[in-house]
């Protein structure tokens, strides 16, 4: 079936390291991707997005890379901080007859230790 998934359910890093969270998607027609961060007790929060006509987009300490050839998406967090500890989801924008909807991956839990 068509779904968005993440390679690893958990990732542990040391404070100051760079983190890379990966995501594989299966719908080659998807034209838009989003990364969300969900902290404990809160709803998902938008981090960064990328359109399919781009292969890289940078924000503040975060970079999203898109490889359409292998249908792979990654989120890179530079100089990871304890406040980055959360669950990270990728989401794929799917357009069908009813309109557009996001399909979410299952999430990667990032743990940052001091």
């Amino acid at each position: 079936g068509e779904s968005v998934g993440l390679h690893l359910p958990t990732l542990s890093v040391q404070e100051g390291d760079n983190s890379i969270i990966n995501c594989a998607y299966s719908n080659s027609a998807s034209d838009y991707f989003i990364w969300y961060k969900q902290e404990s007790g809160k709803g998902p929060q938008f981090i960064i997005d990328i359109r399919s006509n781009m292969d890289k987009r940078q924000g503040q300490r975060v970079t999203v890379l898109l490889n359409k050839t292998v249908k792979h998406l990654s989120l890179q967090i530079a100089a990871t901080q304890p406040g980055d500890s959360a669950v990270y989801f990728c989401a794929e924008n799917l357009t069908n007859q009813a309109g557009t909807a996001l399909i979410f991956g299952k999430g990667t839990t990032l743990s940052v230790s001091s």
Binding site: P44, A98, G107
Partner: protein, 111 residues
Amino acid sequence: DVKVTQSSRYLVKRTGEKVFLECVQDMDHENMFWYRQDPGLGLRLIYFSYDVKMKEKGDIPEGYSVSREKKERFSLILESASTNQTSMYLCASSFYGISQHFGDGTRLSIL
């Protein structure tokens, strides 16, 4: 900033009860969504709405219904609550279905 407000953070109900979960957004977004989030299953779409009085089924609509009488408000209804509907429920809104903004969720327990 967009604000999506869910009426309750925690809710405990009994099996067979009719349960209403309310969601209000303040950015005049056309699109609103209801998801449930369960460990190991991620976010699953229950229902969504692209306009007032309009609704579309998501991936897991069984046992649920929705109401959108006003643009800013989207209600999720459990017609007869069951224990397998114990979950975290998340509401979201967006402009044209992308960059969805989420509320902080309602953790619903059905006893």
